[in-house]
Structures are given as C-alpha cells and as structure tokens.
C-alpha cells in the first residue's frame, strides 16, 4: 500500500518534466520522471478547480511550442489541439509575431471552469475556455495599438509575458508582467490594458521614471489579501496595495551587502505581510548567482519593512545558485513548506517557512520551474 502523500512538486527543466512526491510529513520525497525527456518544459501547473488536471508548457530544441494536458494527475498527457498562436497576418513583411515559447500558464477564475491563460515569448497573452485544448489570442493585448511602444525591446532570448494573475474576486480583473515592458492591468477581461508601473524604477532606461519598459521578474498577488501585490523586479523588490497604484520599493530594507535583486518572489498563502525572495548578485556584469557563493532566502513578515536571512541547512560557501523566476514556490500546509530549484539541478525544501533547508533532489537538468500541486 502506498503511503499517504502530502503533495507533489512539479519540476520543469531544460530536459524534461520531473515530479517529487512527499510523504505525509514532507520528510521523504520520491522523484519520478523524466517525462518528455529532452523537451524544454517551462511550466507545469495544476488546475485548482479540477486537481486531477495539469497543463504543461513545452517545446523542444527543434520543434515549435505547444501545451500538453493531463487529466490523471500527470500520468498521461495529450497535446492541445490548437496551441497558443498569434493571429495570422498577411502583411507579408516577415515580422508578424509567432510564438517561440509558451512560457507561463495560469488557471482562470474559479467561476470559469476550463478557462486558462498562457503567456508567451514574444510577449503574447492567450486564453483557452476548454481546459487548454484550444487557445485563442487575447486581441485586447496582442493587437493593442500601443503594444510596440510598451515593449520597445526584448531580452536576448526575446521578450516574454509572465505572472498572469486573475483576481479571485473578479474574473475580469487581470494583471500581467512583461520582461521587458512592465506590469499591465485589465479590468475588462483583457479587452483593454493600462501600464501599472508608477513608483517602479527602470534604471536601465533613458528615462528611469518611464510609464512602461520596466522589467518585472515576477509579480504575485497575496492569496490572503488580493489587494496586495509583490514584485521582484530587475530594479528591486516592490509592494503595491490597491487601489493605490504606486509601487513602493520594499527592497530598500534589505541589507546593503545583499541588495534586492533576484528573480522569484513568493507570497505566503495565508499571511499578506509575509513573502520570500532569493537574492542574487546584480552588481557589475550581473552574475545572477547567490551572493558571495552563500545562498540564502530572505523573508519579510511585515510587508517589507524588514527582512530576515534564512540559510540554515543551505551551503555556507562556494554554492553559486541561480533560481529562475518560476522556480520557487510555497505549499498550502499549515506549517508552510517553501521550495526552490536551481539551474544546477537541485531542489531545496523547507517545512517551516524557510527556517531550515534540506536538499531533496540533485543532479537534475537545469530547473526552469517548480510548482506545488496539493
């Protein structure tokens, strides 16, 4: 008889999908996989409305992007009949947008069963209303007349759309993040959009106070208080409390020798004042590794007024971790579990909100994403 399990961590890597399944105490973890060995897996997300359902964003080095869907908790997968794709244009200039990667997946509102959103590179937003089988472009964003101004230039791998957030109180209220472009908000289900970057710095732009062109690495909404947003940006850590529309740089309270640069940020499932980040070196040529080779998570429990280091159990020297924006998550247990995966293929877990850490998997391929499925 199988022991009672207490959750699954789905791991998207550069070379396939893996899963770590925990025992009831979250002490013993069983690694399974790979599935889709050799495929580039950007995101694997469970549908909280139908927990047996998962979607996976995938491509290979040769083949174009697609989405796979499982309705049996990841045992078997079937490809979407119509993957995310931009509207076909006949202008013939050769520059019409085509999806290179499906980068991000977000389940729709709890009242809209079967609805999902996907974000892509180049930056595009897509919606499915049949559980991820058929995807349509969200014209209000993809064809917005200001889109080319909002997204003036991309990263070397192309700009991309991520951090798709659906307000649990209102399915029409959406946020997205674009690297590079900024945070954008829609209050009409994606028909119209406006930048939401006031207060956020963009020190790499000619005008640091620009309305858009920012680089939000990750944006999250507090599950405990949907008016509270946290953002780990290329230029620091921010908080916004709606309906106010100004970002406050809460990363200023981080220790100066650590700074407030990183990729992921995770909000506590029940406490709006608690969030975690994984700081990385953003000095000189931007190594984007743990600072000084000493990895640490930092937590705030007061909405960003102060931060505490959490490194018990993590390597104390010569550990040059990079944690990608999708590769850190929390579970929903009463004693919150926190997890991160590294580009060097390790998964680290904490059963006490970051208080102490244990390595639960190593030698995996480069980890792109880590998501919790209860």
């Amino acid at each position: 008889m199988l022991p009672r399990m207490s959750g699954t961590l789905w791991i998207g890597t550069r070379k396939g999908a893996f899963a770590l399944r925990a025992d009831a105490q979250r002490k013993a973890w069983k690694l399974t996989g790979p599935q889709f060995l050799g495929h580039i897996i950007h995101h694997i997300v469970m549908d909280p409305r139908e927990p047996r359902t998962l979607l996976m964003a995938a491509k290979t080095g040769h083949l174009g992007p697609t989405v796979f869907r499982s309705t049996d908790r990841g045992r078997t997968w079937r490809e979407a009949a119509q993957p995310p794709a931009f509207r076909k244009k006949d202008d013939g200039d050769g520059k019409a947008l085509a999806v290179e990667r499906v980068f991000w997946l977000t389940p729709g509102h709890s009242s809209e069963r079967g609805t999902w959103y996907a974000g892509s590179s180049p930056a595009g937003l897509f919606r499915s209303e049949d559980g991820g089988e058929r995807w349509e472009p969200v014209a209000g964003f993809n064809d917005h007349p200001l889109r080319s101004q909002w997204i003036p230039f991309g990263t070397p791998d192309g700009e991309f759309l991520h951090s798709i957030i659906v307000d649990p109180r209102d399915p029409q209220h959406l946020y997205v993040g674009i690297s590079i472009g900024g945070v954008f908000e829609s209050t009409d289900g994606g028909s119209s959009w406006a930048p939401l970057n006031r207060g956020c710095e963009a020190d790499f732009l000619p005008s640091p106070d620009a309305d858009f062109g920012h680089d939000p690495h990750t944006v999250v909404m507090s599950p405990a208080a949907p008016d509270r947003l946290y953002q780990q940006n290329h230029c620091g850590i921010y908080r916004m409390d709606r309906p106010e529309g100004t970002w406050v740089r809460i990363g200023r309270a981080m220790p100066k020798k650590i700074g407030d640069i990183g990729f992921p940020i995770v909000a506590h499932p029940r406490d709006a004042d608690t969030a975690w980040v994984f700081p990385m070196d953003g000095t000189t040529v931007w190594p984007r590794t743990s600072i000084g080779g000493k990895p640490a998570v930092y937590v705030t429990r007061d909405g960003g007024r102060s931060w505490q280091r959490q490194d018990r159990g993590l390597p104390t020297s010569q550990a040059w971790f990079t944690v990608m924006r999708q590769a850190m998550c929390a579970d929903t247990h009463e004693r919150t579990g926190l997890y991160f995966g590294t580009t060097s293929g390790e998964v680290w877990a904490s059963r006490n909100g970051g208080g102490s850490w244990t390595c639960i998997a190593r030698h995996l391929p480069e980890i792109f994403s880590l998501t919790y499925a209860g």
Partner: protein, 88 residues
C-alpha cells in the same frame, strides 16, 4: 501527386513511430496539409502561425532545400522533414 515523406525522429511521436510515411500534394504546403490531416499537431511544430518554416527545421524535396512552402512536389518525390543540427 504521391510522395514519400522521411520523418525526423523528434516528429515521430506524431506518426506512431514511423520514419517514412506516404503523402499527397503538388507543393510542400499541400503535403504538410495532408500530413496535418492524418497526424494532427505535426505541422505547427514545424511551421509557425505565419506560415514560416521554424528556425530549426529544414525541408527538402529530394536533395533541394526549400525556402518556403511553395516548393513543388512531383509524383515519386521524397520530402525530407529535417531537424537542423543544433542545441546542446
């Protein structure tokens, strides 16, 4: 026109593992449409939504590389669906 299609290994999940399949069409566009009818999803992994051949895909008719999908296909030709050597 009937032709033979040689399928690169990354695409064989669509052809039930077959390395060679038959198809019909007088252009690459038509051949790929025929393949898509029988092996749904296969075309989009090679051709993007704007009709362009993806960066790491190469299409040949016999020994002639095709720049786009208008390349003619004649009876008895062999169409090669090639995944360009790349990556690591």
């Amino acid at each position: 026109m009937a032709c033979t299609v040689r399928v690169a290994s990354p695409l064989r999940s669509y052809t039930n593992g077959a390395a060679t399949v038959a198809a019909v069409g007088v252009t690459l566009h038509e051949v790929l449409a025929d393949l898509e009818r029988r092996f749904p999803g296969m075309r989009f992994r090679m051709i993007d939504e704007q009709g362009r051949i993806r960066q790491h895909i190469r299409l040949f008719v016999n020994t002639q590389g095709a720049a786009d999908l208008s390349a003619p296909v004649r009876d008895g030709d062999t169409v090669h669906l090639i995944c360009a050597l790349s990556g690591g």
